[in-house]
């Protein structure tokens, strides 16, 4: 599976770089991450809870950073394995300064997915991974904003990472809007609305 995209961070490149290279922040920003330890300068090890549609479970994996040119670019090699299958891939991240001391991130990756994750989760894979990535980058941006504003004000501004439930809710929302965007499944929306109405009636009648 190929992943490719861009993201605009609301802060200068050096700070974005710091955040990307901070395992503690990364751990809170990557949805479902239960632990992420730095085991050497360029190597992290951790566990991550992944759920794609009907397939879910704990992955244990390793992230290796290589070809690092601070604060410009790096290559990330990911290897994960767990009950639902395995993930293996490399990603290339490039940061370039943008206007108004913002930072443009370009990323591209090639992900090999196997096991149940591939064979049963495939249908949801694309939208879920896009959504996870977006949520993750949004969280990083929040962390970035917190750091930038504390640097400016001198006060420590707490960055609160989103909970796993919040992530799940966002993913569900993204997937639903994906589905609703396609005209042919407008009826899913209609069915949901109908279901809610029925539920309300049932609850009211019981009350």
């Amino acid at each position: 599976m190929k992943i490719e995209g861009e993201y605009l961070f609301d802060g200068p490149r050096e700070v974005v770089w710091e955040i990307v290279r901070d395992p503690d922040i990364l751990a809170t920003a990557l949805p479902g991450t239960q632990s992420l330890e730095k085991i050497s300068e360029n190597e992290y090890q951790g566990e991550m809870q992944v759920r794609i549609g009907p397939v879910g479970g704990l992955f244990s994996g390793r992230v290796v950073i290589s070809d690092e040119i601070p604060p410009e670019s790096l290559t990330m090699t990911v290897e994960g394995k767990g009950k639902p299958g395995f993930v293996k891939g490399t990603g290339f991240i490039k940061l370039s300064p943008a206007e108004n001391s913002k930072t443009q991130m370009q990323y591209q990756g090639d992900l090999e997915v196997g096991g149940r994750l591939a064979s049963v989760g495939q249908r949801m894979m694309d939208s879920v991974s896009k959504s996870l990535l977006k949520q993750g980058l949004d969280s990083l941006n929040q962390a970035l904003l917190a750091r930038v504003s504390s640097a400016e004000s001198g006060e420590v501004v707490d960055y609160e990472a989103p909970s796993e439930a919040q992530f799940a809710a966002s993913v569900a929302k993204d997937m639903a809007s994906d589905a609703l965007a396609s005209r042919k499944v407008w009826w899913i929306g209609a069915a949901v609305v109908l279901l809610i109405i029925i539920l309300v009636i049932v609850i009211l009648s019981q009350g």
Binding site: K83, F86, G114, V120
Partner: protein, 781 residues
């Protein structure tokens, strides 16, 4: 005399099936039974560095865990299902058979690596997660066309390349014909993989009884006798120590003919090893990875024609994807070769088959077994030729049919049975005319089609004739016995997976013995009842087992007449068998029931005459010299929804010629099922693999099979050209329904989109794919 053969009789087995009284493998429940679960590879290609089962063994309820390593010397590769053709010169064939458990490396996703045996399936499945495996992922051979690249990784490290087999077949002189051709049409034709998707998955229960030194195996196999022989040989037992029962089975369709799947060796072995009954039932996900698949082939095809539309030659070089192993030999590609000239008189034929290993589940025949690919090829080429020459598609076919006086017609190539392919009999033209008449071909082309199109409908028509080689040897056998109760018991070695054998075979016996079909009890696929045979495959049940049953019943009839003649004091010619009695034709009061006669034939005192046998029983065998060739025509009218590109089949007509019809009701059902499968193959079912040979749609949520809503009302008519090769005159029909459907779909769609010049060179299609093809046409007309 009352006729039974050819009667539309309701199925004997249905009351049991419909009331849940029939035994399926999963119904077998034995005291002390253990349950097995297999750990399967998530990788398509990876080296096994280490396997740690210690934690799994500690889980309460786990009885044993085995890997190839732990099996030690008892681990050995599975036997080949079919050996390569011995009669062909200059053939390359590398036999690499499936393994009971992977050793050293895994070669496809789903390959079993370890087996856990536990007190329950739940515990066994949980324990699979306790097993720790270190893999070293390897480069993957996913693409059939890239498999032979010099740089391609090797599926089998001991071979120089991924070439599994190579073979050339020639008839006439294709190159010489090419110099004389007016028209040469060249196309690349691709057909992709699908699953058989039987309603019942595979399942095996094995029970080793140490005290009697006897093993009983219940197996969802189409080949109970060869399985018994293979299991006995693998376990070092006498064949008589092993009983294999293939009970009622929810659909075979070919993959259950694949012999000695890893689980088929492992479960009996485990039962003997552990001294307890062991059960394994495949789940649907396992079925997508661990049960054989079929159809992927890529053909570079060429057809030579005269300006009059006469075929001068056909040539095709093709790649066949065998997957990780090739236990089923060359059956599928040889079937494609046998059918790539269709029902036509083709004087020059050249074919080169190349079989490659890939990191996918291995292939074996699925209903049609290479034939749909062959028919698709020749019919596509003919449709393109018809357009190029400005000849009507039906007309170009009529000009090329093998004429009735040409039978037996020699194809001059060898078929899947390694014998020279000869079409035994046929009368093709009237059957095609019958189908054209029924669907209203002329009328649709001239009036209805244009009228509907003018009203804004996208409609199309197709008509495709096809041949099917059926009823190959080597042999089947049967035993027929009249019981003192007057009931008749019949046993044959072929298994049954829903074909209606309990009725159609009973009709063959009834015809000889004059006993109502409901009084005939048939046992199929139980080696304790009959232990010679090869199996239910290649549309051979009605031909090979049917004629063996006919032969046994005829001998029993002879015994009945001889004994009754003595007892009734009447010459044999004056006796008739009807309603369970032998009567003197002119004196119906002089009669004896078959039951009483059976009792008389097995006396408690006195002497049985020398040279005779007790009872009214006979065992006989039938082995045809070569297969019988069936014929058929399918025609349909479709309407395509312009917005969704879904195809609605407005009418579907089948004319089937499978020789003598035993039971038209059952035959119609077989044809319906085949057509449904063919529709799946054409517009719904496709196994999608990514570039790492990971299967991406391994569930019925994503792998679409057509449902009752998508299957049209199918009108079946019969045309009868009996086979001269067997006494009943039967030809097979089990696979027929599925064979021409992809070719028919392509033709009807091209007819519907003739205005944009749609050309279809691939199968399966889907609304998405059709959309893409149409877009291509619109953007580059």
């Amino acid at each position: 005399m009352k006729k039974y053969i050819g009667e539309r009789i309701k199925r004997n087995e249905d009351p049991r099936l419909l009331t849940g009284q029939a035994l399926f493998v999963d119904d077998v429940d034995l005291p002390g039974m253990l349950y097995a679960a297999f750990l399967r590879s998530d990788y398509a290609h990876a080296r096994l560095i280490s396997i740690d089962v210690s934690e799994a063994l500690q889980r309460p309820g786990v009885v044993a865990v085995y890997t190839a390593e732990i099996m030690g010397d008892e681990w050995q590769p599975g036997p080949a299902n079919v050996s390569p053709p011995p009669t062909v010169e200059n053939i390359t064939f590398h036999s690499r058979t499936q393994l009971p458990l992977a050793k050293g490396k895994v070669r496809h996703v789903g390959e079993p690596i370890a087996v856990v045996v536990a007190e329950s399936r739940y515990i066994a499945e949980d324990a699979l997660e306790d097993i720790l495996i270190e893999f070293e992922p390897l480069e993957v051979v996913a693409d059939i066309e890239k498999a032979l690249d010099p740089e391609a990784p090797l599926v089998h490290d001991d071979l120089d390349s991924n070439l599994a087999a190579y073979m050339v077949q020639d008839k006439g002189d294709y190159q010489a014909a090419k110099t004389k051709a007016d028209v040469i049409i060249k196309r690349r034709i691709e057909i992709d993989r699908g699953a058989a998707a039987a309603m019942e998955n595979r399942g095996i229960v094995a029970n080793w009884e140490a005290r009697s030194q006897h093993l009983t195996v219940w197996d969802t196999t189409q080949a109970p006798i060869p399985i018994r022989n293979g299991v006995a040989s693998r376990l070092g037992l006498n064949q008589t120590q092993v009983r294999v029962i293939a009970p009622y089975i929810g659909g075979g369709f070919g993959p259950k003919m694949m012999m000695h799947y890893p689980e088929e060796i492992m479960i009996p072995w485990l039962s003997v090893k552990l001294g307890r009954p062991v059960k394994w039932i495949e789940d649907r996900r396992e079925n997508f990875f661990g049960t054989t698949q079929e159809r992927s082939q890529v053909h570079d095809a060429e057809i030579l024609l005269s300006n009059e539309g006469k075929i001068l030659g056909i040539s095709h070089k093709f790649l066949h994807d065998s997957g990780a192993y090739d236990p089923y030999g060359l059956t599928i590609p040889l079937n494609t070769e046998s059918h790539a000239a269709g029902a036509y008189d083709v004087p020059n034929y050249h074919s080169e088959l190349t079989v490659v290993f890939t990191n996918k589940m291995y292939t074996s025949p699925i209903r049609g077994a290479g034939r749909p690919q062959g028919i698709f090829l020749v019919e596509r080429l003919l449709d393109i030729a018809a357009r190029e020459l400005g000849i009507d598609p039906l007309e170009i076919r009529l000009r090329n049919l093998i004429p009735p006086e040409a039978f037996p017609y020699d194809r001059e190539i060898i078929d899947q049975a390694f014998a020279l392919l000869t079409f035994d009999s046929g009368n093709y033209k009237p059957a095609i005319e019958m189908a054209a008449e029924k669907i209203g071909y002329e009328q649709f082309i001239k009036e209805e089609g244009p009228r509907l199109r003018a009203e804004g409908h996208t409609v199309g028509i197709g008509i495709i004739p096809f041949v099917e080689t059926t009823g190959v040897g080597p042999y089947e056998g049967a035993r027929v016995n009249i019981e003192p109760s007057g009931k008749v018991t019949v046993a044959t070695g072929v298994g049954t997976q829903g074909q209606g054998h309990f009725t159609s075979f009973a009709q063959i016996v009834a015809e000889q013995l004059g006993v109502p079909v409901s009084d005939i009890d048939l046992v199929t696929g139980d080696s304790a009842d009959f232990h010679w045979g090869t199996g239910t495959f290649a549309s051979r049940g009605a031909v090979v087992a049917g004629n063996a049953i006919h032969a046994s019943a005829s001998i029993v009839r002879g015994k009945v007449l001889k004994l009754a003649s003595k007892l009734l004091n009447a010459p044999e010619e004056e006796l008739e068998l009807e309603d369970g009695f032998v009567r003197v034709a002119d004196l119906p009061r002089l009669s004896i029931s078959l039951g009483d006669l059976a009792a008389e034939a097995n006396p408690l005192r006195g002497a049985v005459e020398p040279g005779t046998e007790p009872g009214l029983e006979a065992t006989a065998y039938f082995g045809p010299k070569s297969g019988a060739t069936a014929f058929g025509v399918h025609a349909m009218i479709i309407e395509v929804d312009q917005e969704t590109l879904m195809v609605e089949i407005k009418r579907y007509v089948v004319v089937e010629d499978c020789g003598t019809v035993l039971n038209p009701l059952i035959l119609d059902g077989q044809v319906h099922g085949g057509v449904a499968m063919g529709i799946g193959n054409s517009y719904y079912e496709q196994l999608i693999f990514d570039e790492n040979a990971q299967l991406l749609n391994a569930s019925f949520a994503d792998y679409l099979i057509p449902t009752a809503c998508e299957i049209p009302n199918i009108e079946v008519a019969h045309f009868v050209t009996p086979s001269p090769l067997n006494p009943l005159g039967t030809k097979g029909a089990g696979e027929a329904g599925a064979i021409p459907v992809p070719a028919l779909f392509a033709q009807a769609l091209e007819n519907a989109f003739a205005d944009v010049g749609l050309e279809i060179l691939e199968m399966p299609l889907s609304p998405n794919r059709l959309f893409e093809l149409l877009q291509e046409k619109v953007s580059q007309p």
